[in-house]
Protein backbone atom coordinates (compact mmCIF):
# COMPACT_ATOMS: atom_id res chain seq x y z
CA UNK A 1 0.00 0.00 0.00
CA UNK A 2 1.49 3.37 -1.02
CA UNK A 3 2.11 5.78 1.82
CA UNK A 4 -0.42 8.62 1.72
CA UNK A 5 1.93 11.51 2.02
CA UNK A 6 0.89 13.23 -1.16
CA UNK A 7 -0.88 16.08 0.58
CA UNK A 8 1.09 18.44 2.78
CA UNK A 9 -2.03 20.61 3.20
CA UNK A 10 -0.29 23.96 3.82
CA UNK A 11 -2.57 26.81 4.84
CA UNK A 12 -3.83 28.79 1.85
CA UNK A 13 -6.25 31.62 1.27
CA UNK A 14 -9.90 31.59 2.32
CA UNK A 15 -12.22 30.50 -0.47
CA UNK A 16 -14.04 33.85 -0.27
CA UNK A 17 -10.77 35.64 -0.96
CA UNK A 18 -10.11 33.32 -3.90
CA UNK A 19 -13.58 34.16 -5.22
CA UNK A 20 -12.76 37.87 -5.10
CA UNK A 21 -9.54 37.26 -7.00
CA UNK A 22 -11.28 35.20 -9.66
CA UNK A 23 -14.00 37.84 -10.03
CA UNK A 24 -11.43 40.53 -10.80
CA UNK A 25 -9.76 38.26 -13.37
CA UNK A 26 -13.15 37.65 -14.97
CA UNK A 27 -13.85 41.37 -14.99
CA UNK A 28 -10.68 41.96 -16.97
CA UNK A 29 -11.53 39.42 -19.64
CA UNK A 30 -15.32 39.65 -19.89
CA UNK A 31 -17.02 43.07 -20.02
CA UNK A 32 -20.41 41.44 -19.38
CA UNK A 33 -19.42 40.33 -15.89
CA UNK A 34 -20.99 42.57 -13.24
CA UNK A 35 -21.07 42.26 -9.45
CA UNK A 36 -23.63 43.08 -6.79
CA UNK A 37 -23.24 43.20 -3.05
CA UNK A 38 -25.35 44.06 -0.03
CA UNK A 39 -23.02 46.06 2.20
CA UNK A 40 -20.58 43.21 2.75
CA UNK A 41 -18.13 43.78 -0.09
CA UNK A 42 -15.11 43.88 2.21
CA UNK A 43 -16.13 40.53 3.67
CA UNK A 44 -17.25 38.81 0.48
CA UNK A 45 -14.22 40.20 -1.37
CA UNK A 46 -16.24 41.82 -4.15
CA UNK A 47 -14.52 45.04 -3.05
CA UNK A 48 -11.60 44.40 -5.41
CA UNK A 49 -13.95 44.17 -8.38
CA UNK A 50 -15.81 47.28 -7.19
CA UNK A 51 -12.58 49.23 -7.08
CA UNK A 52 -11.39 48.20 -10.50
CA UNK A 53 -14.78 48.25 -12.25
CA UNK A 54 -16.97 50.79 -10.41
CA UNK A 55 -19.38 51.12 -13.34
CA UNK A 56 -20.02 47.40 -13.28
CA UNK A 57 -20.53 47.11 -9.52
CA UNK A 58 -23.91 47.66 -7.88
CA UNK A 59 -24.03 48.31 -4.17
CA UNK A 60 -27.55 47.29 -3.12
CA UNK A 61 -27.40 48.23 0.53
CA UNK A 62 -28.67 45.80 3.13
CA UNK A 63 -31.46 44.40 0.96
CA UNK A 64 -30.54 40.92 -0.23
CA UNK A 65 -33.92 40.03 -1.72
CA UNK A 66 -33.77 43.12 -3.89
CA UNK A 67 -30.16 42.33 -4.82
CA UNK A 68 -31.01 38.84 -6.08
CA UNK A 69 -33.90 40.11 -8.21
CA UNK A 70 -31.87 43.03 -9.60
CA UNK A 71 -29.24 40.44 -10.50
CA UNK A 72 -31.90 38.39 -12.27
CA UNK A 73 -32.96 41.49 -14.20
CA UNK A 74 -29.36 42.15 -15.23
CA UNK A 75 -29.00 38.53 -16.33
CA UNK A 76 -32.23 38.74 -18.34
CA UNK A 77 -30.72 41.73 -20.12
CA UNK A 78 -27.58 39.82 -21.09
CA UNK A 79 -25.18 40.47 -18.21
CA UNK A 80 -23.34 37.82 -16.20
CA UNK A 81 -24.03 39.03 -12.67
CA UNK A 82 -22.33 37.72 -9.56
CA UNK A 83 -24.43 38.61 -6.51
CA UNK A 84 -22.58 38.08 -3.25
CA UNK A 85 -23.47 38.14 0.40
CA UNK A 86 -23.07 35.94 3.44
CA UNK A 87 -24.54 32.64 2.36
CA UNK A 88 -27.12 32.72 5.14
CA UNK A 89 -28.54 36.03 3.85
CA UNK A 90 -28.33 35.32 0.12
CA UNK A 91 -30.10 32.00 0.46
CA UNK A 92 -32.56 32.70 3.24
CA UNK A 93 -33.53 36.32 2.61
CA UNK A 94 -33.25 35.86 -1.14
CA UNK A 95 -34.80 32.44 -1.48
CA UNK A 96 -38.08 33.43 -3.07
CA UNK A 97 -36.19 35.66 -5.48
CA UNK A 98 -33.83 32.79 -6.30
CA UNK A 99 -36.85 30.61 -6.95
CA UNK A 100 -39.10 32.93 -8.96
CA UNK A 101 -36.66 35.28 -10.67
CA UNK A 102 -33.68 32.97 -11.22
CA UNK A 103 -34.50 29.24 -11.13
CA UNK A 104 -37.98 29.28 -12.64
CA UNK A 105 -37.10 31.39 -15.71
CA UNK A 106 -33.60 29.79 -15.74
CA UNK A 107 -31.65 33.07 -15.92
CA UNK A 108 -27.88 33.32 -16.00
CA UNK A 109 -27.41 34.58 -12.44
CA UNK A 110 -24.47 33.57 -10.24
CA UNK A 111 -24.97 33.77 -6.49
CA UNK A 112 -22.00 33.57 -4.17
CA UNK A 113 -22.58 32.81 -0.51
CA UNK A 114 -19.60 33.42 1.73
CA UNK A 115 -19.16 32.71 5.45
CA UNK A 116 -20.91 29.37 5.00
CA UNK A 117 -21.11 26.66 7.62
CA UNK A 118 -20.14 27.07 11.27
CA UNK A 119 -16.50 28.00 10.66
CA UNK A 120 -17.52 31.66 10.64
CA UNK A 121 -17.03 31.25 14.39
CA UNK A 122 -17.74 33.92 16.97
CA UNK A 123 -20.64 35.63 15.15
CA UNK A 124 -22.86 32.70 15.98
CA UNK A 125 -25.87 30.93 14.44
CA UNK A 126 -27.75 33.93 13.00
CA UNK A 127 -24.82 34.36 10.60
CA UNK A 128 -24.12 30.65 10.04
CA UNK A 129 -25.33 29.08 6.85
CA UNK A 130 -25.94 25.42 7.59
CA UNK A 131 -28.83 24.80 5.20
CA UNK A 132 -27.63 26.60 2.06
CA UNK A 133 -26.71 23.48 0.08
CA UNK A 134 -30.12 22.02 0.81
CA UNK A 135 -31.90 25.21 -0.26
CA UNK A 136 -29.81 25.75 -3.38
CA UNK A 137 -30.08 22.11 -4.48
CA UNK A 138 -33.87 22.29 -4.16
CA UNK A 139 -34.00 24.84 -6.99
CA UNK A 140 -34.56 23.15 -10.36
CA UNK A 141 -31.86 24.01 -12.88
CA UNK A 142 -29.41 25.42 -10.35
CA UNK A 143 -25.80 24.27 -10.38
CA UNK A 144 -24.38 24.14 -6.86
CA UNK A 145 -20.65 24.42 -6.28
CA UNK A 146 -18.75 24.12 -3.01
CA UNK A 147 -14.99 24.36 -3.53
CA UNK A 148 -12.53 23.10 -0.96
CA UNK A 149 -9.62 25.46 -1.53
CA UNK A 150 -8.22 28.51 -3.25
CA UNK A 151 -7.22 26.88 -6.55
CA UNK A 152 -10.48 25.02 -7.03
CA UNK A 153 -12.49 28.13 -6.16
CA UNK A 154 -10.70 30.26 -8.73
CA UNK A 155 -11.13 27.71 -11.49
CA UNK A 156 -14.74 26.93 -10.61
CA UNK A 157 -15.74 30.61 -10.50
CA UNK A 158 -14.42 30.91 -14.04
CA UNK A 159 -16.31 27.79 -15.08
CA UNK A 160 -19.46 29.16 -13.43
CA UNK A 161 -19.17 32.34 -15.49
CA UNK A 162 -18.87 30.31 -18.67
CA UNK A 163 -21.78 28.06 -17.73
CA UNK A 164 -25.14 29.34 -18.98
CA UNK A 165 -27.71 29.07 -16.21
CA UNK A 166 -28.11 29.87 -12.52
CA UNK A 167 -25.27 28.86 -10.20
CA UNK A 168 -24.78 28.97 -6.45
CA UNK A 169 -21.18 29.03 -5.20
CA UNK A 170 -20.45 28.35 -1.55
CA UNK A 171 -17.44 30.00 0.07
CA UNK A 172 -16.03 30.06 3.58
CA UNK A 173 -14.62 32.63 5.94
CA UNK A 174 -11.41 31.07 7.36
CA UNK A 175 -8.18 30.42 5.58
CA UNK A 176 -8.15 26.80 4.50
CA UNK A 177 -5.66 24.13 3.52
CA UNK A 178 -4.36 24.14 -0.03
CA UNK A 179 -5.28 20.91 -1.72
CA UNK A 180 -4.59 21.60 -5.37
CA UNK A 181 -1.59 22.95 -7.20
CA UNK A 182 -2.16 25.82 -9.59
CA UNK A 183 -2.99 24.51 -13.03
CA UNK A 184 -5.25 21.70 -11.84
CA UNK A 185 -8.15 21.20 -14.25
CA UNK A 186 -11.75 21.03 -13.08
CA UNK A 187 -15.12 20.48 -14.68
CA UNK A 188 -18.51 21.30 -13.21
CA UNK A 189 -20.19 18.07 -12.12
CA UNK A 190 -16.99 16.02 -12.19
CA UNK A 191 -15.60 15.05 -8.81
CA UNK A 192 -11.88 14.71 -8.16
CA UNK A 193 -10.41 11.56 -6.65
CA UNK A 194 -7.67 12.78 -4.34
CA UNK A 195 -6.58 9.48 -2.81
CA UNK A 196 -7.02 5.94 -4.02
CA UNK A 197 -8.48 3.41 -1.63
CA UNK A 198 -10.30 0.10 -1.56
CA UNK A 199 -11.94 -0.41 1.85
CA UNK A 200 -14.09 2.72 2.17
CA UNK A 201 -14.73 5.96 0.27
CA UNK A 202 -14.74 9.35 1.96
CA UNK A 203 -16.87 11.75 -0.08
CA UNK A 204 -16.45 15.34 1.08
CA UNK A 205 -17.08 18.92 0.10
CA UNK A 206 -15.67 22.28 1.22
CA UNK A 207 -13.76 22.35 4.46
CA UNK A 208 -14.28 18.64 5.05
CA UNK A 209 -12.15 17.67 2.06
CA UNK A 210 -8.93 18.45 3.92
CA UNK A 211 -10.27 16.76 7.05
CA UNK A 212 -11.06 13.66 4.99
CA UNK A 213 -7.52 13.54 3.60
CA UNK A 214 -6.20 13.72 7.15
CA UNK A 215 -8.66 11.02 8.20
CA UNK A 216 -7.46 8.77 5.37
CA UNK A 217 -3.90 9.10 6.64
CA UNK A 218 -4.98 8.01 10.13
CA UNK A 219 -6.99 5.13 8.72
CA UNK A 220 -4.09 3.96 6.60
CA UNK A 221 -1.98 3.51 9.70
CA UNK A 222 -4.73 1.23 11.00
CA UNK A 223 -4.75 -0.81 7.80
CA UNK A 224 -7.93 0.73 6.34
CA UNK A 225 -7.53 1.90 2.78
CA UNK A 226 -9.72 4.98 2.24
CA UNK A 227 -10.52 6.58 -1.11
CA UNK A 228 -11.04 10.33 -0.84
CA UNK A 229 -13.15 12.22 -3.37
CA UNK A 230 -13.70 15.98 -3.54
CA UNK A 231 -17.29 16.75 -4.52
CA UNK A 232 -16.81 20.38 -5.44
CA UNK A 233 -20.08 20.16 -7.37
CA UNK A 234 -23.01 19.20 -5.19
CA UNK A 235 -25.49 19.55 -8.04
CA UNK A 236 -25.44 17.98 -10.57
CA UNK A 237 -23.88 15.04 -8.73
CA UNK A 238 -21.13 12.91 -10.22
CA UNK A 239 -23.28 9.78 -10.17
CA UNK A 240 -20.68 7.64 -11.85
CA UNK A 241 -18.04 8.31 -9.19
CA UNK A 242 -20.56 7.51 -6.46
CA UNK A 243 -21.66 4.26 -8.06
CA UNK A 244 -18.04 3.24 -8.64
CA UNK A 245 -17.12 4.03 -5.04
CA UNK A 246 -20.04 1.98 -3.74
CA UNK A 247 -19.20 -0.94 -6.02
CA UNK A 248 -15.44 -0.92 -5.51
CA UNK A 249 -15.12 0.00 -1.84
CA UNK A 250 -18.50 -1.19 -0.52
CA UNK A 251 -18.78 1.53 2.12
CA UNK A 252 -19.17 5.31 1.99
CA UNK A 253 -18.78 8.20 4.42
CA UNK A 254 -20.06 11.63 3.35
CA UNK A 255 -18.63 14.63 5.20
CA UNK A 256 -19.81 18.23 4.97
CA UNK A 257 -19.98 21.44 7.01
CA UNK A 258 -23.75 21.54 6.70
CA UNK A 259 -26.82 20.08 8.36
CA UNK A 260 -26.98 16.37 7.67
CA UNK A 261 -30.62 16.93 6.71
CA UNK A 262 -30.81 17.89 3.06
CA UNK A 263 -27.07 18.12 2.48
CA UNK A 264 -24.60 16.37 0.19
CA UNK A 265 -24.93 13.16 2.24
CA UNK A 266 -28.59 12.54 1.55
CA UNK A 267 -28.07 13.36 -2.10
CA UNK A 268 -25.23 10.84 -2.35
CA UNK A 269 -27.30 8.28 -0.45
CA UNK A 270 -30.02 8.59 -3.05
CA UNK A 271 -27.57 7.70 -5.81
CA UNK A 272 -26.13 4.82 -3.76
CA UNK A 273 -29.63 3.47 -3.21
CA UNK A 274 -30.37 3.76 -6.92
CA UNK A 275 -27.14 2.22 -8.17
CA UNK A 276 -25.26 -0.02 -5.76
CA UNK A 277 -26.66 -0.12 -2.20
CA UNK A 278 -23.88 -0.04 0.40
CA UNK A 279 -23.59 0.95 4.05
CA UNK A 280 -23.08 4.70 4.62
CA UNK A 281 -22.27 7.05 7.48
CA UNK A 282 -22.75 10.82 7.58
CA UNK A 283 -20.52 13.48 9.10
CA UNK A 284 -22.27 16.83 9.43
CA UNK A 285 -24.25 18.99 11.79
CA UNK A 286 -26.95 17.01 13.53
CA UNK A 287 -30.35 18.74 13.71
CA UNK A 288 -29.16 21.75 15.68
CA UNK A 289 -27.75 25.27 15.43
CA UNK A 290 -24.25 25.94 16.70
CA UNK A 291 -23.06 28.81 18.92
CA UNK A 292 -20.32 31.41 19.34
CA UNK A 293 -16.75 30.17 19.67
CA UNK A 294 -13.60 29.96 17.62
CA UNK A 295 -13.95 27.98 14.38
CA UNK A 296 -11.60 25.33 15.75
CA UNK A 297 -13.66 24.90 18.91
CA UNK A 298 -16.86 24.65 16.89
CA UNK A 299 -15.54 22.13 14.39
CA UNK A 300 -14.39 20.09 17.38
CA UNK A 301 -17.63 20.36 19.36
CA UNK A 302 -19.93 19.71 16.40
CA UNK A 303 -17.91 16.79 15.12
CA UNK A 304 -16.47 18.04 11.85
CA UNK A 305 -12.81 17.10 12.20
CA UNK A 306 -10.63 14.36 10.68
CA UNK A 307 -11.14 12.42 13.90
CA UNK A 308 -14.90 12.36 13.28
CA UNK A 309 -14.53 11.33 9.65
CA UNK A 310 -12.16 8.53 10.67
CA UNK A 311 -14.57 7.32 13.36
CA UNK A 312 -17.41 7.24 10.82
CA UNK A 313 -15.17 5.28 8.45
CA UNK A 314 -14.38 2.67 11.11
CA UNK A 315 -18.10 2.29 11.83
CA UNK A 316 -19.07 1.89 8.22
CA UNK A 317 -16.28 -0.61 7.51
CA UNK A 318 -17.54 -2.76 10.38
CA UNK A 319 -20.99 -2.74 8.81
CA UNK A 320 -19.71 -4.23 5.56
CA UNK A 321 -20.74 -7.82 5.11
Amino acid sequence: MPAKTKYALPLGAATREAFGKALVELGRTNPNVVALDADLSKSTYTAGFAKEFPARFIECGIAEANMIAIGAGLASAGKIPFAASFSVFALNKGFEQLRVTAAYPNVNLKVVGTHSGISIGEDGPSQMSVEDLSLACSLPGFTVISPADETSMIELVKLAAAHVGPVFIRAGRPKVARIYEAGQQFAIGQSVELLEGSDVTLIATGLLVAESIRAAETLEAEGISARVIDFHTVKPLDREAIARAARETGAIVVAEEHLVDGGLGVRVAQVVAETHPAPMEFVGIQNTYAESATPEQLLDKYGLLARDVAAAARRVVKRKR
Partner: protein
Protein backbone atom coordinates in the same frame (compact mmCIF):
# COMPACT_ATOMS: atom_id res chain seq x y z
CA UNK B 1 -47.73 45.74 -35.97
CA UNK B 2 -49.17 49.19 -36.57
CA UNK B 3 -48.34 51.61 -33.77
CA UNK B 4 -50.52 54.65 -33.19
CA UNK B 5 -50.72 57.71 -31.00
CA UNK B 6 -54.32 58.37 -31.95
CA UNK B 7 -56.45 58.34 -28.81
CA UNK B 8 -59.61 57.14 -30.55
CA UNK B 9 -57.75 54.28 -32.19
CA UNK B 10 -56.09 53.32 -28.90
CA UNK B 11 -59.48 53.42 -27.17
CA UNK B 12 -60.93 51.11 -29.80
CA UNK B 13 -58.05 48.66 -29.38
CA UNK B 14 -58.43 48.82 -25.61
CA UNK B 15 -62.10 47.90 -25.83
CA UNK B 16 -61.29 44.88 -27.97
CA UNK B 17 -58.57 43.86 -25.52
CA UNK B 18 -61.06 44.01 -22.67
CA UNK B 19 -63.44 41.78 -24.59
CA UNK B 20 -60.68 39.27 -25.34
CA UNK B 21 -59.51 39.17 -21.73
CA UNK B 22 -63.06 38.54 -20.48
CA UNK B 23 -63.57 35.77 -23.01
CA UNK B 24 -60.25 34.16 -22.11
CA UNK B 25 -61.00 34.14 -18.41
CA UNK B 26 -64.51 32.82 -18.98
CA UNK B 27 -63.17 30.03 -21.19
CA UNK B 28 -60.53 29.19 -18.56
CA UNK B 29 -63.13 29.14 -15.79
CA UNK B 30 -60.74 30.92 -13.45
CA UNK B 31 -58.53 33.98 -13.39
CA UNK B 32 -58.50 37.65 -12.46
CA UNK B 33 -60.81 39.86 -14.52
CA UNK B 34 -60.92 42.95 -12.28
CA UNK B 35 -57.25 43.86 -12.50
CA UNK B 36 -57.04 42.96 -16.18
CA UNK B 37 -59.77 45.48 -16.92
CA UNK B 38 -58.32 48.21 -14.70
CA UNK B 39 -54.95 47.93 -16.46
CA UNK B 40 -56.34 47.79 -20.01
CA UNK B 41 -55.54 51.38 -21.07
CA UNK B 42 -52.13 51.26 -19.40
CA UNK B 43 -51.02 48.08 -21.17
CA UNK B 44 -52.56 48.99 -24.53
CA UNK B 45 -51.09 52.51 -24.56
CA UNK B 46 -47.66 51.18 -23.69
CA UNK B 47 -47.55 48.45 -26.34
CA UNK B 48 -49.30 50.35 -29.15
CA UNK B 49 -47.82 53.78 -28.60
CA UNK B 50 -45.06 54.18 -26.04
CA UNK B 51 -42.75 51.15 -26.07
CA UNK B 52 -39.86 50.94 -28.51
CA UNK B 53 -40.21 47.32 -29.48
CA UNK B 54 -40.46 45.00 -32.44
CA UNK B 55 -42.64 41.90 -32.21
CA UNK B 56 -40.74 40.45 -35.14
CA UNK B 57 -37.50 40.76 -33.21
CA UNK B 58 -38.59 40.21 -29.62
CA UNK B 59 -35.07 39.91 -28.26
CA UNK B 60 -33.72 43.10 -29.85
CA UNK B 61 -31.11 44.25 -27.30
CA UNK B 62 -32.16 47.90 -27.25
CA UNK B 63 -35.90 47.28 -26.90
CA UNK B 64 -37.88 48.78 -24.07
CA UNK B 65 -38.86 46.27 -21.41
CA UNK B 66 -42.35 45.72 -20.03
CA UNK B 67 -42.89 43.78 -16.82
CA UNK B 68 -46.31 42.92 -15.47
CA UNK B 69 -45.32 42.65 -11.85
CA UNK B 70 -48.97 42.01 -10.92
CA UNK B 71 -48.71 38.82 -12.95
CA UNK B 72 -52.22 37.58 -12.17
CA UNK B 73 -53.57 40.17 -14.62
CA UNK B 74 -51.85 38.43 -17.54
CA UNK B 75 -54.99 37.96 -19.66
CA UNK B 76 -54.86 41.61 -20.69
CA UNK B 77 -51.12 41.30 -21.39
CA UNK B 78 -51.57 38.15 -23.47
CA UNK B 79 -54.41 39.78 -25.43
CA UNK B 80 -52.27 42.84 -26.18
CA UNK B 81 -49.13 40.83 -27.01
CA UNK B 82 -51.11 38.63 -29.39
CA UNK B 83 -52.61 41.74 -31.02
CA UNK B 84 -49.07 43.06 -31.48
CA UNK B 85 -48.05 39.80 -33.14
CA UNK B 86 -45.82 38.33 -30.42
CA UNK B 87 -47.91 35.20 -30.08
CA UNK B 88 -50.87 33.55 -31.81
CA UNK B 89 -54.34 35.01 -31.31
CA UNK B 90 -55.98 31.72 -32.15
CA UNK B 91 -54.57 30.11 -29.01
CA UNK B 92 -55.66 32.80 -26.56
CA UNK B 93 -58.63 30.70 -25.47
CA UNK B 94 -56.26 28.01 -24.20
CA UNK B 95 -55.45 30.24 -21.20
CA UNK B 96 -54.62 28.16 -18.11
CA UNK B 97 -54.94 24.86 -19.98
CA UNK B 98 -52.31 22.09 -20.12
CA UNK B 99 -49.49 22.95 -22.50
CA UNK B 100 -50.76 26.47 -23.25
CA UNK B 101 -48.26 29.25 -23.78
CA UNK B 102 -50.80 31.35 -21.92
CA UNK B 103 -50.05 30.14 -18.43
CA UNK B 104 -52.03 31.20 -15.34
CA UNK B 105 -49.27 33.66 -14.53
CA UNK B 106 -46.67 34.89 -17.05
CA UNK B 107 -44.04 32.22 -17.68
CA UNK B 108 -41.10 32.86 -20.00
CA UNK B 109 -40.58 29.14 -20.49
CA UNK B 110 -43.87 28.98 -22.36
CA UNK B 111 -43.89 32.47 -23.87
CA UNK B 112 -40.26 33.58 -24.43
CA UNK B 113 -41.31 37.05 -25.65
CA UNK B 114 -42.22 37.91 -22.06
CA UNK B 115 -39.53 39.84 -20.19
CA UNK B 116 -40.11 38.06 -16.89
CA UNK B 117 -41.96 35.29 -15.15
CA UNK B 118 -44.08 36.92 -12.50
CA UNK B 119 -46.93 35.94 -10.22
CA UNK B 120 -45.40 36.09 -6.78
CA UNK B 121 -46.00 39.74 -5.92
CA UNK B 122 -43.33 42.29 -5.14
CA UNK B 123 -40.55 41.11 -7.45
CA UNK B 124 -41.06 43.03 -10.70
CA UNK B 125 -39.68 46.42 -9.74
CA UNK B 126 -36.33 44.90 -8.80
CA UNK B 127 -36.25 43.01 -12.10
CA UNK B 128 -37.04 46.18 -14.03
CA UNK B 129 -34.34 47.99 -12.09
CA UNK B 130 -31.82 45.32 -13.05
CA UNK B 131 -32.81 45.63 -16.71
CA UNK B 132 -32.56 49.42 -16.56
CA UNK B 133 -29.12 49.19 -14.99
CA UNK B 134 -27.99 46.84 -17.76
CA UNK B 135 -29.26 49.35 -20.35
CA UNK B 136 -27.38 52.14 -18.66
CA UNK B 137 -24.16 50.12 -18.59
CA UNK B 138 -24.63 49.40 -22.29
CA UNK B 139 -25.27 53.05 -23.11
CA UNK B 140 -28.62 51.95 -24.54
CA UNK B 141 -31.77 54.04 -24.80
CA UNK B 142 -33.80 51.12 -23.53
CA UNK B 143 -36.30 51.93 -20.77
CA UNK B 144 -38.14 49.61 -18.42
CA UNK B 145 -41.82 49.90 -17.52
CA UNK B 146 -43.16 47.97 -14.56
CA UNK B 147 -46.88 47.72 -13.82
CA UNK B 148 -47.53 47.22 -10.13
CA UNK B 149 -50.74 46.34 -8.36
CA UNK B 150 -51.83 48.59 -5.54
CA UNK B 151 -52.16 45.68 -3.13
CA UNK B 152 -48.83 44.42 -4.42
CA UNK B 153 -46.89 47.38 -3.11
CA UNK B 154 -47.64 46.26 0.42
CA UNK B 155 -44.72 43.90 -0.25
CA UNK B 156 -41.51 45.20 1.34
CA UNK B 157 -39.26 44.43 -1.61
CA UNK B 158 -41.07 47.09 -3.67
CA UNK B 159 -39.70 49.67 -1.28
CA UNK B 160 -36.21 48.15 -1.32
CA UNK B 161 -36.29 48.54 -5.09
CA UNK B 162 -37.79 52.04 -4.85
CA UNK B 163 -35.00 53.14 -2.51
CA UNK B 164 -32.29 51.62 -4.71
CA UNK B 165 -33.63 52.99 -8.02
CA UNK B 166 -33.71 56.54 -6.70
CA UNK B 167 -30.34 56.26 -4.99
CA UNK B 168 -28.79 54.90 -8.17
CA UNK B 169 -30.47 57.73 -10.17
CA UNK B 170 -32.00 55.28 -12.59
CA UNK B 171 -34.07 57.52 -14.87
CA UNK B 172 -34.82 54.91 -17.53
CA UNK B 173 -37.26 53.16 -15.21
CA UNK B 174 -40.96 53.85 -14.72
CA UNK B 175 -43.30 52.20 -12.25
CA UNK B 176 -47.01 52.38 -12.95
CA UNK B 177 -49.24 51.69 -9.97
CA UNK B 178 -52.65 50.40 -11.06
CA UNK B 179 -54.44 52.05 -8.16
CA UNK B 180 -57.82 50.37 -8.48
CA UNK B 181 -58.41 50.38 -4.72
CA UNK B 182 -59.30 46.70 -4.43
CA UNK B 183 -57.29 43.62 -3.49
CA UNK B 184 -58.31 40.02 -2.90
CA UNK B 185 -59.75 40.38 0.59
CA UNK B 186 -61.48 43.72 -0.02
CA UNK B 187 -60.72 47.41 -0.32
CA UNK B 188 -57.07 48.42 -0.02
CA UNK B 189 -57.95 51.16 2.46
CA UNK B 190 -59.38 48.48 4.78
CA UNK B 191 -56.73 45.79 4.29
CA UNK B 192 -53.55 47.91 4.49
CA UNK B 193 -53.88 51.50 3.41
CA UNK B 194 -51.20 52.88 1.10
CA UNK B 195 -51.90 56.53 1.77
CA UNK B 196 -50.38 59.00 1.42
CA UNK B 197 -49.14 57.13 -1.64
CA UNK B 198 -47.72 59.95 -3.79
CA UNK B 199 -45.84 61.27 -0.76
CA UNK B 200 -44.37 57.83 -0.11
CA UNK B 201 -42.87 57.60 -3.61
CA UNK B 202 -41.73 61.24 -3.50
CA UNK B 203 -40.03 60.73 -0.18
CA UNK B 204 -38.22 57.72 -1.67
CA UNK B 205 -36.79 60.07 -4.31
CA UNK B 206 -39.09 59.36 -7.24
CA UNK B 207 -40.71 61.78 -9.64
CA UNK B 208 -44.44 61.20 -9.20
CA UNK B 209 -47.23 61.78 -11.70
CA UNK B 210 -50.87 61.16 -10.84
CA UNK B 211 -53.22 60.42 -13.72
CA UNK B 212 -56.63 58.96 -14.40
CA UNK B 213 -55.63 55.52 -15.65
CA UNK B 214 -58.45 55.20 -18.15
CA UNK B 215 -57.63 58.53 -19.84
CA UNK B 216 -55.35 57.53 -22.69
CA UNK B 217 -54.21 61.09 -23.42
CA UNK B 218 -53.33 61.58 -19.76
CA UNK B 219 -51.34 58.32 -19.78
CA UNK B 220 -49.52 59.41 -22.96
CA UNK B 221 -48.58 62.68 -21.30
CA UNK B 222 -47.42 60.87 -18.18
CA UNK B 223 -45.21 58.45 -20.14
CA UNK B 224 -43.78 61.38 -22.10
CA UNK B 225 -42.97 63.25 -18.90
CA UNK B 226 -41.41 60.10 -17.40
CA UNK B 227 -39.10 59.61 -20.37
CA UNK B 228 -37.86 63.20 -20.23
CA UNK B 229 -37.15 63.08 -16.49
CA UNK B 230 -33.42 63.14 -15.77
CA UNK B 231 -31.70 61.74 -12.71
CA UNK B 232 -34.64 60.03 -11.08
CA UNK B 233 -37.12 57.26 -11.76
CA UNK B 234 -40.79 58.07 -12.29
CA UNK B 235 -43.82 56.58 -10.60
CA UNK B 236 -47.12 57.04 -12.38
CA UNK B 237 -49.96 56.56 -9.95
CA UNK B 238 -52.77 55.56 -12.27
CA UNK B 239 -56.12 56.05 -10.60
CA UNK B 240 -58.27 53.29 -12.03
CA UNK B 241 -61.50 51.42 -11.50
CA UNK B 242 -61.30 47.72 -10.80
CA UNK B 243 -63.38 45.85 -13.39
CA UNK B 244 -63.54 48.98 -15.58
CA UNK B 245 -65.94 48.74 -18.49
CA UNK B 246 -68.25 46.08 -17.12
CA UNK B 247 -70.89 47.57 -14.82
CA UNK B 248 -71.32 44.60 -12.51
CA UNK B 249 -67.56 44.09 -12.15
CA UNK B 250 -66.69 47.71 -11.45
CA UNK B 251 -65.61 48.28 -7.85
CA UNK B 252 -66.68 44.78 -6.99
CA UNK B 253 -64.09 42.84 -4.97
CA UNK B 254 -65.70 39.57 -6.06
CA UNK B 255 -64.24 40.01 -9.52
CA UNK B 256 -60.69 40.34 -8.30
CA UNK B 257 -60.23 36.63 -8.74
CA UNK B 258 -63.47 35.09 -9.97
CA UNK B 259 -64.18 34.16 -13.58
CA UNK B 260 -67.48 35.33 -15.01
CA UNK B 261 -70.12 32.74 -15.83
CA UNK B 262 -71.06 32.34 -19.47
CA UNK B 263 -74.13 34.53 -18.88
CA UNK B 264 -72.03 37.17 -17.17
CA UNK B 265 -69.54 36.98 -20.01
CA UNK B 266 -72.32 37.57 -22.55
CA UNK B 267 -73.55 40.59 -20.58
CA UNK B 268 -70.02 41.93 -20.28
CA UNK B 269 -69.42 41.59 -24.01
CA UNK B 270 -72.68 43.44 -24.69
CA UNK B 271 -71.52 46.30 -22.50
CA UNK B 272 -68.18 46.31 -24.32
CA UNK B 273 -69.76 46.16 -27.78
Amino acid sequence: MQKTSDVAQLAAITKRMRRTAIEMITEAGSGHPGGSLSAAEIVTTLFFDVLRHDPENPHWTDRDRFILSKGHCCPILYAVMAECGYCPKDQLMTLRKLGSMYQGHPDVRFLPALEASTGSLGLGLSLGLGMSLASRMNGSKSRSYVVLGDGEIQEGQIWEAAMAAAFLRVDNLAAIVDYNQIQLDGFVKDIMSLEPLAEKWRSFGWHVIEAFGHDIAALQNAFGEASSMKGKPTCIIAHTVKGKGVSFMENNPKFHGTAPTRDECAKALQELA
